[in-house]
């Protein structure tokens, strides 16, 4: 069996999640550096499409067909089937995305197998027979590197820290029918899958994020944030204050209790930059802020800060951007 494993996450329409292409790229790079074998695994009611896509990144992919994944939450079913594939006592490391599903799988696998977890990797190298993983802890105040003490472990990898690149040649897909008998974990039934109209694209994956905070003033103010995001081809983000006020859905929240993002541009509108928000966006390549208060914390860590009223600067910016794109 392989020394390095990649979890292939499947989206609602059966395709491979973008995070898995990034995870696969990192694991393949480590495999090439260490001479380890690397393989992917996709568990789904119909894993074929996602497995085929994952095989463009990896030499070998196991497609595990598991009917229970159709009407149970995916992560626990996947974790149980993957645990059945891994061989205890051999050198094996599992790489998964640090999104909600990846974390669920990592947690379940860790408890089932007794494997350690190094969480939210920013990158990894190979040394002394295992991965050495770089992580950001305490809200980004410290960067640590850690290793596993034994021959096994699970690494969760943050979205957007690796640039996905397919391999030179596509790998093989092996279809595995059923493994491991009955599922042991008690059943959770998916009674209904609700698609909400206008659900925003996942902000973790966005190249540009335009975010609004308390200074936006209300849901109407977010119209301006949305328009600027649209003009920049970006996604809309928000602070906890804006979300708790009900101005914008929780899925768009960035910060300590929301998402951690790493876009190329983070445009902060009416955001003071309190530490709880800063921890979610401080690794953005470029940070631009518009704020009335010159003493707001964001003025200390943005690359460019405009001191002014966002309802004056924002429309002017929108006009400039629209004029530029013609």
């Amino acid at each position: 069996m392989a020394g390095l494993w990649v979890l292939g996450e499947v989206t609602a329409d059966g395709t491979l999640a973008r995070i898995s292409t990034e995870v696969a790229t990192l694991a393949r790079t480590l495999a090439e550096a260490s001479g380890q074998e690397v393989a992917g695994v996709v568990v789904a009611a119909d894993p074929t499409a996602a497995a085929t896509e994952l095989a463009t990144y990896l030499p070998r992919v196991l497609a595990v067909s598991e009917p229970a994944a159709a009407d149970r939450p995916w992560s626990m079913v996947a974790a149980e089937r993957i645990a059945g594939l891994l061989e205890p006592d051999t050198k094996e490391f599992m790489f998964v995305g640090a999104g909600p599903d990846g974390r669920d799988v990592a947690g379940a696998l860790s408890a089932t197998l007794g494997w350690g977890v190094l969480a939210n990797a920013l990158g990894a190298t190979w040394a002394s027979g295992g991965p050495v993983v770089e992580m950001s802890v305490f809200g980004g105040k410290l960067t640590t590197t850690s290793r596993f003490t034994g021959p096994t472990g699970i690494v969760t990898i943050r979205p957007n820290v690796v640039t996905a690149a397919p391999s030179k040649a596509a790998g093989s897909v092996e279809v595995v029918e059923a493994i491991g008998g009955d599922l042991r974990q008690p059943a959770v039934r998916v009674a209904e899958r609700v698609v909400e109209a206008g659900t925003a694209a996942p902000i973790e994956e966005a190249r540009v994020i335009v975010a609004g905070g308390r200074g936006v003033g209300g849901p109407e103010g977010f119209r301006l944030v949305e328009q600027i995001a649209e003009a920049l081809g970006g996604a809309v983000g928000a602070t906890r204050a804006a979300v708790d006020s009900g101005w914008i859905p929780y899925g768009q929240q960035i910060g300590q209790t929301g998402k951690i993002v790493k876009p190329e541009l983070y445009l902060a509108l009416g955001i003071s930059g309190a530490i709880q928000h800063k921890v979610g966006m401080q690794t953005a390549a470029t940070i631009v802020a518009v704020n009335r208060d010159p003493d707001a914390p964001i003025a200390d860590f943005a690359d460019l800060v405009v001191i002014g009223d966002l309802f004056e600067v924002g429309p002017a910016l929108l006009a400039e951007l629209r004029a530029r794109s013609g």
């Binding site: 939450p73 669920d104 947690g107 408890a111 609700v194 940070i287 631009v288």
Partner: protein, 262 residues
């Protein structure tokens, strides 16, 4: 309804004192502890559920002996009692130990629901809830935006946030639910709550009390080890623009073009 909420005392993010001691572990004397923010959302959800259905909320923490001060903040919000698992042998605990100990602590309690936060602000692993569900054999329902238990039918319905909307999940009680902020803002403790918390019970449990051998958990058997740590590189100096709106907007656009973002 009896609800257990897993609560972790964490270093206060708003302080800037987090540093590692010579042993590579958090120097707890250097920074004040608070209740992990995501756990406050789980606790708030639990308090609302017992207000609607009747019952009690027990908070369970694995932490150092001094954590009772932080746990009292959670009791002040309205939790009924606390259970603190503390033992010198737990120093340097990794995720595997944490999950094992929390699962063992639960086995001595009666509950209909176990609630946990989505992750913690210090390590942000977000893997403990799923692990505890596996070891306790509880149905696992994660990323909840809504929790609707039916104690008579011994069922729970949970709205799980999905990338395109939400899934409605159903499972039998008892179950473990990982909570999100979408459940609603945590209350501030009232003065009455703070006073009442002083006399609320916090039961302390050692590893021996839980039937766990000291050598089987903690730093001695940690699955991960720190290799090194450093402060991240500081960001470059900030350029401050104080022009009128039109000129400021042009400056932003020029800056973005300079950096090839547009």
């Amino acid at each position: 309804m009896h609800i257990v909420v897993l609560v972790k005392p964490v270093p206060d993010t708003a302080s800037s004192g987090e540093r590692l001691g010579p042993d590579g572990r958090l120097d707890r004397a250097a920074v004040p502890a608070v209740v992990n923010a995501n756990d406050e959302y789980a606790l708030e959800a639990a308090l609302k559920l017992v207000e609607a259905h009747g019952g009690e909320v027990t908070i369970v923490s694995m932490a150092t002996a001094g954590a009772t001060d932080t746990m009292r903040k959670a009791l002040a919000m309205g939790a009924t009692r606390g259970v603190l698992v503390t033992d010198d042998a737990l120093a340097g605990a990794d995720h595997v130990t944490t999950v094992k100990v929390l699962a063992a602590a639960l086995s001595g309690l009666e509950y209909d629901l176990v609630l946990a936060g989505a992750d913690t602000s210090d390590g942000q692993g977000g893997v403990v809830g799923a692990g505890v569900a596996v070891l306790t054999g509880l149905p696992y329902l994660s990323y909840a935006a809504k929790i609707e238990p039916d104690p008579d039918a011994r069922q729970v319905r949970v709205r799980r946030i999905s990338p395109t909307g939400y899934d409605v999940l159903e499972a039998a009680l008892p179950a473990l639910v990982v909570c999100t902020q979408a459940l609603g803002e945590p209350r501030y403790p009232s003065l009455k709550g703070i006073m009442a918390a002083r006399s609320k019970e916090i039961v302390t449990r050692s590893l021996a009390d839980l039937g766990i051998e000291a050598g089987s958990v903690g730093g001695a058997v940690a699955t991960t080890a720190l290799v090194g740590s450093e402060a991240p590189p500081p960001r470059a100096a900030t350029r401050v623009v104080r022009e009128a709106p039109d000129a400021a907007a042009r400056e932003i656009v020029a800056f973005l073009a300079e950096r090839r973002i547009i």
